[in-house]
Symmetry: D2
C-alpha cells in the first residue's frame, strides 16, 4: 500500500524534510530526481519533483527545490555568511535561467510576514536590505548604468495587521507594476530544531497555502499572479511537539544501536507506529501548551544574519553589475 | 491684478496657512467660507473652498478642510490628548456624513511615509495603532458584533524603498479589496515652526502631488482611486529657510510696533517685498545647507503621541460601538 | 540517603520548580513552610525556606519566595494583566514590610539582561516603563508630593556588551547613589515550557550566581551590595532538552495511568532513573543542537506585556500615592 | 576692554565655534595655538588652549581640541565614511600618545545621552557598535591575541530616565572597574545648522557642565573621575533662534558685499550689536516656541552613519591589531 504523505499531519514547510519523511531510508522515489553536493560548510540539495506521483508521495508540488544546509550559520561568522550568499546567488541564477527571466526583466520582491514578531520578520527584513532600483528606470531610464535590472520590493504585512490577505495585496501590486517575476520570502516552520535558522530553501513553485508560520492562507503562485513566482523560505520556528517526537526517535535509535533487543528496551511504546506516537505526544502535551511554536533564544541576531545573506545573494543574482565575489558590500 | 498663489513657492501643505498667506489681514476671499471655534485648548478652523476662484486664490483644491490647532499638544499631557482625539473624532464624523459613507461602509486606511525616517513615520505609526477588522468580516461575518465596520490598513512605503509609487500600490490594493472609502495619513511640511506637531488637518480632497515631505509625486484622490479619499495631515517638519523668513517678519513687526519709522529701521531690506526677501534668504542659505527640512529634537515622542491621537480618533469615528468618550482604550 | 539537589543538573531558576523536584509528591520538607492560594486566574504560592537543611534539600537559599502562576498571561488580556499587577503589588508590599523598608526609603531598580536579545530583555523593558523619581528628591526636594519615595533605575547591560560584570556596575552605582533597597529584575530559564511567560517569582534572596539566561556570574545579594536585594524573575526560555525530558515523563505518566504494567510498556528505558534518562537525552541531542534555549514565537508581545505588569506592580507597591486599583495608568 | 565670552549666552558646545566668535576675523588669540589642514573632503582643525587668558577669551578649558569638518558627511557615502574613520583614528591616536596611555592600558567608553531621543542617542549608538574586549582579559587573559587592549563600554542613560546623574554612575563604575582612561561620547548643540552631523570634536578636557543637549549637569573630567577623560562630541541639534540669527548675519553680509552703504540698507537694525540682535530675536521668538532645538529630518540615518564612523575610528585607534586601513570591518 502506498504511504501517501497527505495522511500525515506533517509539520514541515521544507520539501527536503518532506522527502526524508516519505523515504526515510534515502530510497529512490519515482518521479523525483535529487542530488546533493557539499561546498565547504554548505550542503546543497537539489530536488526536481517531475511527476504527479512524485508530488503526491512527497506532498509538495511539481517543481525545482534547492536547499542550502549550513549547521554553522548560527555562529555569526561573517566570512561564512559571505560564502553562503555567494552559493545562494549561484543557485538562484540557475532558477532565473531555467524560468527564462532575462537579465533586464523586472522583479518584484515580496517580504511576507510580520515586522513585530521577530521569528516571522524574515521577509520584511530582506525587503529592508535589498537594492531597490525600479524607480530609477521609471524616472530617469537613460541614466541607469548597464548591468542592473528594475527591482521593486514590498512587505505587505499579515492578515491580522492589514485586514487583507497578503496574496490579494501582492496581486494588486503586480497588476499595477507589471513585474516579469515575483520573488517571495517567508519564514517557515521546520520539523527539526537543528534546521531552524540553518537552512534556506528556494523553490520555483512559489508560496503555498498552509505554508508560513502565520495566517497566510492564499498562495503566491504563477496561477494566481500571472507571472512566475520563486519562493525563498527559512525555517525559523518548530513545534514543541515535533521537538519532542523527533528527540524520542533519536533516543530510541541511539539505544537500539547499543542494545539490539528493542522489545525489551521500550515495550509497547517502542512498538507504536510513528504517527500513533506523535498523536499520543500531542494529546499529552496540548493541555499544557506544548503545542507552541518555539524559536531559539538568539532569534533577533539569527534573523538579521540570514536576512543579510539572502539580500546579498539576491543583489548578486539579480544584477550582473553586482559581483558574486563581494555581494555583501551592497547591503547594510 | 490678482495675487495668485501659484506664483509663489509656498512651502506649506496646510490649507489654513495658504489662506493666511492669501489673505494676511483675515479679509474675506470670494468663494471661500470659513469659521473657527475654540474648545478648551483646541482651536478648530473649518474652511470650505467652494469655487474655482477661491481655489485659485488659496492654491488649494475645492473641498472641505478642518484644522485642529493645539499649541499644548507637544506637552505630552495624556488628558489633553484624549480631548483632542474626541474632537478629532467628531470632526471626522462630519466628513463621513458629508461624503455619505454608511456606518457599515468599508474603509482602507493608508499610512503614507517612511518607517525609518522618524518625522515621516506618521502614517505607518497610525496604521500600527488603528483597529483592523476587515478580516473578521471576511472570515466569520456572522460573528462580528454590531457597531463595527470593515477596516483595513496598509503602510505602502515610499518610492525610495519600494521602487513603486505609493499611489500605484494603493490603487492596486483598492482594486482588489474594494473599500468604499480611503483615508490617507501623511506627514506634512509647514511654513511655521510653531505648527510642527501641534496641528492636524483633515481634508476631503485626498492627498495631492507635491504634498508630503518625501517623494510622493502621485496623488491619492477620488479621480485616481475611484472612491472618495479623506486626507489627514500633520506638519512634522519645516524648512530652515522658512523659519528664518518668518522670524524676520516677526522681528520687523515687533520693531515697527515700537518704532514706527520703518524706513530708517531696516533701510532697503525692510522695504523689499516678501517674496524678494524670501528669495534672498534662500539664495544666501542654500550653499551652506540651510535649505534643510528640520524637526524638533523631541520628534520621537511627538510622533508617538500624535499617532495615538489620530488612531484613537479614527477608531471612535469609524465604529459606532467605540465610544468617543473613551477612545484611547482601543489603541495601545 | 538524602536526595540532595546539588547533585542534579537542575535547569531551573525557580524555587517552586526546585521544590517540586525535591518533593515530587508534594510531601513536606523539613525547614520549608509553604502555602498556596488562588485568586481568580492567579495562583499565588508562598514558600519560606527556614533552615539550612531545607535550603540544601531544595537547592535554593534561605529566604522568602513568592510565585504567581497565571496560565492565561499569554493571552494578551489587559483586564487580567491589571489584576496580576494588583496582586503582584500586594505580594511585593509584604516583602517591603518584612524587610523593614520605610515608605520613604530610596530604591534602585536594576534591570538585568540584554536589550538586543528579546527573551533576555525583561529587565531593560521594566526599567524603561517604571516611574523614576529620585531626581526630583535631589533637585527640588521641597516640591515632591507626599506619598512618593525616591526611585532610580538602571539597565547595566550584560558582560558580553559592556565588558564588565553587571554585579560590579551595580555595586559601583549603589556606592555612589546609596539606595536603601535594590530590586533586581531578570529573565530566567524554566524547567517547563508551560511556565514560560506565565510565571513571576519574587524572592528576598536577591539574584544568584548561575541564575539568569546570560553570562551573569556574580550575584546581586545583600552580602555583595550592602543593602537588601529583592529579586524578580520571569522564566522566558527553556532548554530544548528539558522540554523533551519532561514531555517523556508526561507520556510515561499518561500511559502508566491507562496500562498499569509499566515494565512491559517501556522496557529498560522506562526503568531508568530520571537523571540517567535526562543524561541520555542530553547526550543524544547535543550533537544536533537540541541543547538550545528556546522561547515561544510570540516572545516580543509576551515580554512587553509582562514588563508592563511588573512596572505597574512596582509603581503601586513603591509609592503610597499610586493606587493599587489603577496601577496601569502610571506606565505607558 | 576685553571681550570675554562668559558674558555671552553662546549656544555652542564646540571649541572651534567659540574661537570663531571670539576672533571673528581669524585674528590670533594670545595663549591659543591653532592649525588647520585639509585631507580630501575633511578639514582637520587642531587647537591648543595653553593659558588661562586663552581659556577665558574662548570660554573653553585649557587643553587640546581637534575638530573634523566634513560637509559631505550627510551624503551617506560609505567610502568617505571610511576615510573619515581613518583620519579620526589617527587624530585620536595622537591624543592617546599625548596623554601617555599605553597600548595595553584599559579604556572605558561612556556613551552619554538618551536611547529614545534620536538626536541624543549618539553615545548609546557608539557603545552598541564598538568592540568590547575587557571580559576576555578578565576571564581568559592567556588567550587574548596581542595587539588588543581591555575595552569596556557603558551607556549610563540620562537623569530623566535613571534618576541618577550620569556622572555619578560613571564614577561608581570607574571605581569598580579601574580603567586607565575614560572616553566619553555625547551629542552637542551647535551654533550653526551646517555643522549639525558634519562635525566631530575630540577634546582632552572631558565633558563639561552645561554641555550636551540634555540634563547632564555634572561633568566627566580627570578631576572628578581620577583618570584622564577624552570627550568626543558631534553637534546634532541647533536652536531655532540661532539658525535665525546666523541667517540674518549671512543675509546682511551678503547685502553689504553688493551694496556697501550699510546704514541705508538695514537702518537701526543693521547697526545693533550682535548680542543685542540675538536678544531681540529670542524675545520675539520665544512665545511661539522658536526656542526649540531642531535637527534635520534625516536624523535617524545621520546618527547611524556617524556612530559607525566613531566606533570604527575608536576600534582602530585603541587596538594595534586593528588596521586603520580597514577599520569598518570591525563594526556592524
Amino acid at each position: 500500500m502506498d504511504k501517501d504523505l497527505s495522511m500525515y499531519n506533517i509539520r514541515t514547510d521544507l520539501a527536503l524534510e518532506a522527502k526524508e519523511m516519505a523515504a526515510p531510508g534515502g530510497e529512490d522515489i519515482p518521479g523525483v530526481w535529487s542530488e546533493q553536493d557539499t561546498q565547504g560548510e554548505v550542503t546543497v540539495s537539489r530536488m526536481h519533483i517531475q511527476t504527479d506521483e512524485g508530488a503526491r508521495k512527497i506532498g509538495k508540488m511539481i517543481g525545482h527545490y534547492v536547499t542550502l544546509d549550513v549547521p554553522g550559520m548560527r555562529q555569526g561568522d561573517t566570512e561564512l555568511q559571505d560564502q553562503i550568499a555567494t552559493i545562494f546567488a549561484k543557485e538562484f541564477e540557475a532558477f532565473l535561467a531555467r524560468i527564462g527571466t532575462k537579465p533586464t526583466g523586472s522583479v518584484l520582491i515580496v517580504g511576507l510576514g510580520n515586522w513585530n514578531v521577530t521569528p516571522d520578520a524574515l521577509g520584511p527584513l530582506v525587503v529592508e536590505n535589498v537594492m531597490v532600483t525600479r524607480q530609477f528606470f521609471e524616472l530617469m531610464p537613460d541614466q541607469v548604468s548597464p548591468g542592473y535590472r528594475p527591482v521593486s520590493a514590498i512587505a505587505p504585512g499579515v492578515l491580522g495587521t492589514t485586514g487583507i490577505e497578503s496574496s490579494d495585496i501582492v496581486q494588486g501590486i503586480v497588476e499595477k507594476s507589471k513585474p516579469d517575476l515575483v520573488i517571495a520570502i517567508d519564514a517557515l516552520a521546520s520539523k527539526a530544531l537543528e534546521r531552524v535558522n540553518t537552512t534556506i530553501q528556494i523553490a520555483d513553485t512559489g508560496i503555498h497555502p498552509g505554508s508560513g508560520i502565520g495566517n497566510k492562507r492564499k498562495g503566491l503562485t504563477k496561477d494566481i499572479l500571472g507571472v512566475p513566482c520563486i519562493g525563498i523560505g527559512v525555517p525559523t520556528v518548530v513545534y514543541a511537539s515535533t521537538i519532542v517526537n523527533s528527540a524520542m526517535d533519536l533516543v530510541f535509535g541511539h539505544m537500539k544501536k547499543h542494545t539490539p533487543e528493542t522489545g525489551q528496551l521500550f515495550g509497547v511504546f517502542g512498538s507504536m507506529a510513528e504517527q500513533e506516537r506523535l498523536q499520543l505526544v500531542k494529546e499529552v502535551l496540548q493541555p499544557i501548551g506544548h503545542d507552541l511554536l518555539v524559536t531559539p533564544k538568539e532569534i533577533d541576531k539569527f534573523m538579521e544574519d540570514i536576512a543579510n545573506i539572502i539580500a546579498s545573494g539576491l543583489n548578486a543574482a539579480l544584477h550582473e553589475a553586482v559581483d558574486t565575489d563581494n555581494v555583501a558590500a551592497y547591503t547594510h
